[in-house]
């Protein structure tokens, strides 16, 4: 079994991703059980997913529809005026295919109202603000509809810190956070996400022409393979270089993974008592349900 190639636009030097090939029916069955069990055990029937039209959120929405029934999934697309119209069209395509009711909530008014006061803000500030506005909308729908917010960050993004803290990284449950981007592509193909969604160049679509791979500076296939060796296989740095990974690339990625650790952990609490939350007071999240 071999992994499907990444996006065609950047597939200039095909890399062997077969090491990351998944037992797809097994992963699908674990994730469907995860969504349904972790949703219903806390008293919810429904989930809400921000559907960007990208492959990650399309996969999460499709899995949720299979796990809970599409009538229990609320898809929300939240375009900004500069968003690529093709993104919304792709979200609609996926919603139609999996019969997920999709709402469109434009974020332009709330984002522009804010930046009218700070017109000099750069792309990154604007992008972060958009991601956080979307988060507030999803959590508003969560309360209004009694629906849990599903996360759509994959393992590559989480490790590289390629997300906005308290923005797109915020969720109640994340079904795909232990899958690398290459594995998200494999599973998406397996569950029937349309090819045009899987095949397009990944983009956060926070500003015109943004591309994950040009922003990160490396291709997903390469970085996934490196992260798989580094994290999953615990291969040491000198061994990684012996295996053919470029030393500068290894160092840059490792640095990025370390620097972004803060995004993967709850905020640091100043310890003063004998029993501090998450230090000595360490119950599972599912404690009591």
């Amino acid at each position: 079994m071999s992994a499907p190639a990444g996006p065609t636009e950047v597939a200039d030097e095909p890399l062997d991703s077969s090491e990351l090939a998944l037992n797809l029916p097994l992963v699908e069955s674990i994730l469907l059980g995860f969504i349904s069990n972790e949703t219903t055990r806390v008293g919810f029937d429904k989930v809400v997913v921000g559907m960007s039209g990208g492959v990650d959120s399309s996969l999460v929405a499709a899995l949720a529809a299979k796990a809970l029934g599409p009538e229990n999934v609320i898809g929300v697309s939240m375009p900004y005026r500069a968003s690529n119209p093709a993104s919304l069209a792709d979200a609609q395509l996926v919603a139609e295919k999996f019969e997920i009711p999709l709402r469109v909530v434009e974020i332009t008014p709330q984002v522009d109202a804010y930046f009218e006061r700070f017109p000099d803000a750069d792309n990154q500030r604007r992008g972060n603000k958009m991601a956080r506005e979307r988060m507030t909308i999803l959590y508003d729908v969560s309360l209004a509809e009694t629906a849990l917010v599903l996360g759509t960050s994959n393992k590559t993004e989480l490790l590289l810190g390629y997300s906005t803290i308290f923005g797109d990284s915020a969720s109640a449950l994340n079904p795909i956070g232990d899958l690398y981007k290459s594995q998200v592509w494999q599973l998406s193909s397996h569950v029937g996400i349309p090819d045009q969604v899987i095949g397009k160049a990944p983009s956060a679509d926070l500003w015109e022409g943004q591309s994950d791979e040009s922003e990160l500076g490396y291709r997903y296939a390469a970085v996934d393979r490196l992260l798989f060796h580094l994290v999953d296989r615990r291969v040491a740095v000198d061994e990684l270089v012996d295996m053919g990974h470029d030393p500068a690339f290894v160092e840059a990625v490792l640095q990025r993974v370390r620097t972004n650790q803060y995004k993967r952990r709850p905020p640091i609490i100043a310890k003063v008592s004998l029993r501090t939350i998450d230090r000595e007071f360490r119950y599972p999240r599912d404690w009591g349900v």
Partner: protein, 232 residues
Amino acid sequence: MAMELDDARLEPLLEASRRIDLVLGMVVKSADFRYYNAAVYLAEGEVRHVHRKVYLPTYGMFDESRYFAAGDRVRTFDRHGFGVGALVCEDAWHLSAPYLLFVQGVSLMLCISSSPGRGVLANPEADLSPGSAHSWEDLLRTVAEYTASYVVYCNRVGYEDGVNFWGGSAVLAPDGSTVAEAGAEEGMLFADIDLREVERQRLNTPLLRDEKVEFTLRELERVWNERTGGPY
């Protein structure tokens, strides 16, 4: 949740054990306030056996030594002619625990576990079991065959904090074959076991008869002395 074995909350289970023997996984609190991860065997309204988990996994996703005291013995007891012994999860992964039951003449080995499913890369079998399930299946089959005992395995199902438990409870015969097998869902599993099967297997392959306990002991003593005898 931890309780001493005379806790009144065990009464309904003790009552139920008048009709059918029960094996429980529970946290046993000792009178001196140590908490043990334990398998408890109830029969005819009383506690017949307690096995306190010896090997507490504290690595990777596991954190047991943080909370539990470790048991320091494995014992068998008689039930309807079977030599019965119990193990808790990680105990079965250390050769010493099933070996010590073996040399005490175990013929019915009970193993309870909360084994998390992990390992989902493509493999030639491509079935719906994670890598951890394949490891357990190999292990239990081996233990059954090489101790010529029945192995009754009960594993958790469901999810907690994103961790899945793969089920796969099973009864294995003394020749390593599967008598009964459950899937990934909660359910009831029935199996007949027969002491004569243990005898037949031990006639065919007399591993217990030929086991050299004194040899093992002597060599272990030598290894232990070599490991601990030199300068520290």
